[in-house]
């Protein structure tokens, strides 16, 4: 029983991070109809930026939590600038191009960012300095650290804030209008370019937070961490229904739970034949199942055939 609860806790922590990243995918898809495959790399650069700042300050007298907060606050503007630049430089010139062109460009941007990160930060794994409190609490025989509690609470708070922004503000209403029909939104006086930039800025800020959370949770960051994380968050977005914000959150949390429970029990289920390092398989197994049986996702509307 305690393994079960432990895996649920791990799954929720992982799932909150997936959800934050999945929101970035789904927001951009909702407005541009583009899978921004470079989004995972924005998470990676957020993680490495935060970690670099954290390492610089690790030996100072500042408390560990404050240092991590400073690292996070440094990563957010860096990622926002990066997301803004990616859209301006790589996607905007292709706004009217066939849909395959920006998709391939996104993969290209992803490779470029990964290589740049490798040149800048090296090929090595960067360890997160042990400055965060290791305290935690026990729930039903399972353990959750205070850091993990903060990760989940912060993710929930950010997602609640995002939902308020999208559903209750003038900018959010313009974003929803643009997602539905950019031409008509333009007729209503919405500057589409501003809305698209805002979408990338918001998504990238979430990516920075998620990147910092990943490196704090796993105590590690490296230049190719964005690829697999991005694919999984994309899977989460598809699971929830791409383009649908609550869907991305639900998909993220579900995927985290599926992975965590899967990794926890796969050894028992296969008599030790397959171990927990098969964790990554679950995400893609889920992706295949969703694409075959419910391509519109759990909360998505029926996706029209758009070439």
């Amino acid at each position: 029983m305690d393994t079960f609860i432990q895996q649920i806790i791990n799954g929720l922590v992982l799932g909150s991070i997936y959800a934050l990243v999945a929101l970035g995918y789904t927001m951009v898809y909702g407005i541009l109809g583009l899978i921004n495959f470079a989004h995972g790399e924005v998470v990676m650069i957020g993680a490495l930026t935060a970690l670099t700042v954290i390492k610089l300050l690790a030996n100072s007298d500042l408390p560990g939590t404050l240092v991590v907060l400073i690292g996070l606050l440094a990563a957010v503007p860096v990622c926002m600038a990066l997301g803004f630049a990616i859209e301006r430089i790589a996607y905007r010139p292709l706004r009217l191009a066939p849909r395959l062109a920006p998709l391939i460009t996104a993969i290209g941007v992803s490779i470029v960012l990964q290589q740049l990160a490798m040149i800048f930060w090296g090929r090595n794994y960067h360890a997160f300095p042990p400055i965060l409190p290791t305290s935690g609490r026990d729930i039903g025989g399972a353990h959750i650290t205070d850091v993990q509690i903060v990760i989940v609470l912060l993710a929930v708070a950010i997602m609640a804030g995002l939902m308020l922004l999208v559903n209750r503000t003038r900018l959010g209403r313009a974003m929803r209008a643009t997602a539905e029909n950019p031409q008509i939104a333009g007729l209503m006086g919405v500057n589409i370019n501003v809305i698209i930039s805002a979408t990338f800025l918001i998504g990238s800020a979430l990516a920075a937070v998620a990147g910092t959370m990943v490196s704090a949770n796993y105590a590690i960051a490296h230049y190719h961490m964005g690829f697999i994380l991005g694919l999984k968050a994309f899977t989460a977005a598809v699971l929830g229904g791409i383009g649908n914000l609550p869907g991305a959150m639900l998909g993220g949390v579900l995927l985290g739970l599926i992975e965590s429970l899967g990794a926890g029990y796969i050894g028992d289920l296969t008599g030790g034949f397959l171990g927990s390092h098969y964790q990554d398989v679950f995400a893609f197994f889920v992706l295949i199942l969703v694409l075959v049986f419910r391509p519109s996702g759990l909360m998505g509307e029926k996706v029209a055939e758009r070439a």
Binding site: A177, E180, N181
Partner: protein
Amino acid sequence: MSAPMLEVRDLHVSYGGIAAVKGIGFEVAAGEMVCLIGANGAGKTTTLKALARLLPAQGAIHYAGHSILHRPVHALIGDGMTLVPEGRGVFARLTVAENLGMGAYCRDNRAEIAADLDRVYGLLPRLKERAPQLAGTLSGGEQQMLAIGRALMSRPKLLLLDEPSMGLAPLMVQKVFEVIRSVAAQGVTILLVEQNARLALSVASRGYVMESGTIALSDSGPALLANPKVREAYLGE
């Protein structure tokens, strides 16, 4: 005589490599309701789209004394020129109230916006009943009312209406045109594109008849209604 509110000279618009509008000219004076009639494919909607800057065009378009040929799409509503597009174009996943709010997107004065909302609800009481509903759940006629109401929320000086009767039941068409008439009576200048020529000519003070990208005829509404050529080609007599 003062300059017209909208003046179009030698307008050319190509659509997918085909010349859809071939050097037309017309004008709309302040306070007028002018209609553009013609068969399907004559270039009426293309003309309106070019005016709203949704399609690139050559020639001259002067609105309120200034050329708008290179204005960005999103600037025109702030200039007072608002298009109610063909097929209504309401935001189906936004509520009726949010759709109306989108019409006032460019405006800041909350008190004035609230007053205009009351006015729109007064003119279109059906929208008030349906305010919290998603616009996609409205009937076609209600969506057309919403599209007009949304445009009114921008406080337009010049309203461009593209086929407001399209796809509506006859009774609903009458209602929509009653609304258009009362909007015009409030002093809003209107350029109306319609396939229903009889209806359009009966409400408009002047009309232009488009034929394959050119303007074939222009006259006052009653004169066009009485014109034998118009009666034969567009009124089915």
